[in-house]
Symmetry: D2
Subunit: 348 residues, 4 copies
């Protein structure tokens, strides 16, 4: 059994981690820490866990966490880089759901997250936790920076046409028009995500610049193997709880007009347990992956022209966060990659 | 033109007041105060008002408000009883959307609102702003305590069977099972009303005791003319923005079994401009009054038995708050009661 | 492995059955029939099942279904009583999710469902599939009439105070004010359940009489062991997908005023795997049981008076339909009752 | 008073027309026809109109409609081209909310709508009812083909950069990523728009080709004054009732890099009563125009690069349909353009 600790855990990625880990056959949940809620049984905050998760939030404690095999940080940005180093020194593996170990360049990190990076020595050791790109490195990693929710969907959607310097689309005019359910904003007391504000409403946000843009561009450049990648990223807020739908646009290069993009995508993901390339002409729905670790992708070329349109759906809390974390954990501990991640989506 | 000021106004009853007053043909909006947002144009906070409401929030200022004919308090409980007395002395009429002047007994007020009442001398002068009960007194009032959203619907639903000591139902076993949209909780940054918490979900709350219970019982006793009234009140939170649906239960007394309750209700409200008694067998929907000042009521007697079931719908922000305030203002200034309140509901 | 067939299966209880059975460790899905959709892969209609449920809808066929160990009817009312008898003769067990075998009196059935009962001989053999009431009889049953969604929640909520003739509440003035998500209306093309009709809206329906009323009264009378039970049942439509919240009202009898109802409920359900009595003062939320087979109950006595208020939540598609069917199947085949039903609720 | 008739009127554009016309100070509603619902009072179908719209649906009748000054067709595609010619001959003006008179080329019409055009002689006389483009022609028109909901938002969003052959963006690689509330699908009994299907869900649809694509391209070419316009149009379904959000993408031409696009848009719409260009950096929300005839637009240039992003919101039932129809009617009858269209948006 893998002994698991969670730092944080009062937010949506935290409760989703608890749901997944409590049902994972190889996991023993050792501790979940929250300074603010110390002493409160987890199931009092999240009654869905009553009778199944019996531990209480505890004050952060180095000894308890140090006795774990792996610790997840489901915390605000900046916590993992403070507390992670000591755990790593104690031999504990660390998986950060926040942004501390996503960006390789600390200057970029500071620009977008408004704080200096305090664990520079670890940046080189951290592995970006996107198994479809970095599977082998994840197996050997001791520190994982999990991708953001939007970046997971956008990178998986563009991967087949950019990989290894492929000359299929114009990488400098990529567009990602992304739509997210409100849980992506976290379980924070804020006005703009109240039901009375966000329901029966639709809007874009962060058009001037969103933290996930540099992460996506970094990832796409790594996938492509070159830096000639530019993305326009426009996120939108959808009046629903879970789910991301990314609508991706790329101009097909003249020399690639004969490409069978459907076949290309199917081949790229033929062996991936959590990426489902749907039949030509499909329109994936976010609910088709609700509560599951699956990404579904459809490829379109409207009117047979030069505009490639890729539709990607994921559950932002699962493949976009906690599920991907469990997937990485499975790889890091030599378990079958799908262990504990086989629950079917809940539809309707 | 009536010169109107608003104290508060950054919440939902505030923006609804602005919507109604900006379209009222006899109103000139003089000032809207918010200490926190002073200087911000109102339309920056509520873009729906762009081009139509040009004033900015201003710091509370006795001179400005004192020059108004009437001031609405769309504030948290406790503000009107602090600031209202000076305005009244200056000859300004006051309409409070909060609870300061709803309850006649200051001991009850303190018990349920957790603060002592600071304007005891005004309690006798304040008129409870429910025109269907207190129309004449409202015309002459200088200080109005507007009913809560739930109390409006429950009182109007029980009024025909309780009025003037009628012996029709057992007043000691009344039940009000009420359901409200989330805007009833206000525009406050709180976790439990986030879309990701309250959407696709349903729950009761406050079953042990809710502030509107003493207000409703006080109102029903005044309507009945005696004190033998007891109510069980169970409010619920509905995943929608606006609307209250009250399902009311009363046991018909043996001597009243022959009563034609449909006719009774129709007669009771025949001349009311904002109460619509629907045909027998109807099920009113909250959306049928969305954004309008109308209450719709249907009367049922399932199986022809002794259980009377009354269904009442209202828009909690209009007839349940701001619209009722405008209705009272019209009465206080001798205008036709429906002035500025004739917009049709928005459906769908 | 239990060989399972499904008749129908294109509706919400059907896809929910598929979700549960596909993850059940002791089930082999043999056939799912739909005359209209014969030939269509199930996963084309429900993409959430892609890669996990590989069979296609087939035309109803006696031989295929006759080779199953058990057949579920997820069909409109009236189908199971036509096709069930032949299957039973062939030694197949039958579980009907529709109403054909819920009501014991064929006269009552015909009155409420508008068709004569065509399998009168089976009415005596059918067992009402509510394990918390009929566990032992279900073990031995060959034909199950599964309870309706509302009846499950109402019967479990009243059971502790009515069981075996208990003199605790006035059984003749019971009230069930129930609220259901829209999936309860089924996956049928109808106007009143369109998102643009039912969203941001709330209404009661069927106040004059709902088919679940005679079923609930029959069940409560069986639980009580006498016929002095009368219920007022008012269902409402909630703008959400899944979930039922029943708010139950009963007048406490004078001689029962000293009863500790919290303890009574806790004792009644102490050994039930799927009924969770929450701590005193709780308000269960429907989302706390979303996609799970659990019912959560809270008991209140507002103001310490004589009105008992019981709050019950369930997922109408799981404990209110398909999950309860699987629970019965487990009992009928001697499996641990929770087999395949341990997935945690999905929250948020 | 303008005597108005409505053909159809049982759908969402119909009830919205009724809401607007019933409040229009210069309109007298003469007749509303529906073969299927003849005899039913309109307010029985739409209780929001109780007490305000007293007429009943009537069977279609040439004499009644022929006595009107103007007749709106709120019907499925194909009805106006059948019944319109006789009305026009009788001197009645006609405004079609369906697609019969949107497309100038009958071959294109037949391709996308699956029926031959039966009123070819009128195609030249019909005016496309987009006042911001065709105001003068609308004043003189006797037959209006109202734009579709998506086309209104997309054309108004691209107009300032395409008008009169402007060389500002690459017109051959335009993208419109559009999101619509479910009322855009109409009040039709269909499975895919049920609340239990469309709620808590997001998907694209019609990526291979949508009927609004040829209409938008025709309109943009007319605005530009040339044919070098190609659009990729991807519509999506949002779990909300009303509202369209169009996110528009255009590549800025090298020679236009110094353009002040914010100023360009503000100038283009400076005198338009129903187009609101928001301050730089804004993110318009659909609810900010809910139930109003206003379009709000924001212009972005993320990172100061060559990608122009235009955000447009409208209420699909008002400016996207019925409100625009009333706006055209006002122009056709010499009334101030905003008559009856000044109601403020309903927010929240």
């Amino acid at each position: 059994m893998i002994k698991v600790g969670i730092v944080g855990g009062t937010g949506y990625t935290g409760v989703e981690l608890l749901r997944l880990l409590a049902q994972h056959p190889q996991v023993q949940l050792q501790a979940i820490t929250s300074r603010k809620e110390a002493g409160m049984p987890v199931a009092d905050m999240f009654p869905s866990l009553r009778g199944r998760v019996d531990i209480a939030f505890s004050a952060p404690d180095a000894a308890t966490l140090g006795a774990c095999d792996v610790v997840f940080f489901a915390t605000p940005h900046g916590v993992a880089m403070e507390q992670g180093p000591a755990l790593l020194e104690a031999g504990v593996k660390v998986i950060d759901l926040a942004a501390d170990f996503r960006l390789r360049d600390p200057v970029v990190f500071e620009k977008w997250y408004g704080m200096p990076h305090s664990a520079l020595a670890l940046l080189d050791k951290a592995v970006y936790g996107l198994p479809e790109v970095n599977r082998d490195r994840i197996r050997d990693a001791r520190l994982i920076g999990l991708p953001g929710c939007y970046p997971t969907s956008v990178q998986l959607g563009f991967l087949p046409v950019l990989r290894d310097g492929a000359k299929l689309v114009d990488g400098t005019t990529l567009i990602a028009d992304c739509k997210s359910g409100v849980s992506g904003a976290g379980r924070k007391a804020e006005v703009h995500t109240l039901l009375a504000e966000a329901s029966d409403n639709f809007k874009a946000y962060g058009v001037k610049g969103h933290r996930h843009l540099p992460e996506i561009e970094q990832g796409l450049r790594a996938i492509a193997g070159h830096d000639a990648i530019n993305l326009t990223f426009v996120p939108h807020l959808v009046p629903m709880i879970r789910g991301i739908h990314s609508t991706l646009y790329a101009r097909i290069l003249p020399e690639a007009r004969e490409t069978d993009f459907q076949a290309l995508f199917e081949a790229a993901y033929a062996n991936e347990p959590f990426v489902d390339v749907m039949p030509a002409g499909s329109h994936p729905e976010t609910r088709s992956v609700r509560s599951a670790n699956t990404v579904r992708i459809a490829v379109h070329r409207p009117g047979g022209g030069d505009q490639l349109v890729v539709l990607v759906v994921e559950d932002n809390l699962v493949k976009g966060a906690s599920g991907q974390g469990v997937q990485c954990m499975n790889l890091m501990f030599g378990l079958p990659e799908s262990t504990g991640l086989t629950m079917l989506p809940v539809l309707p």
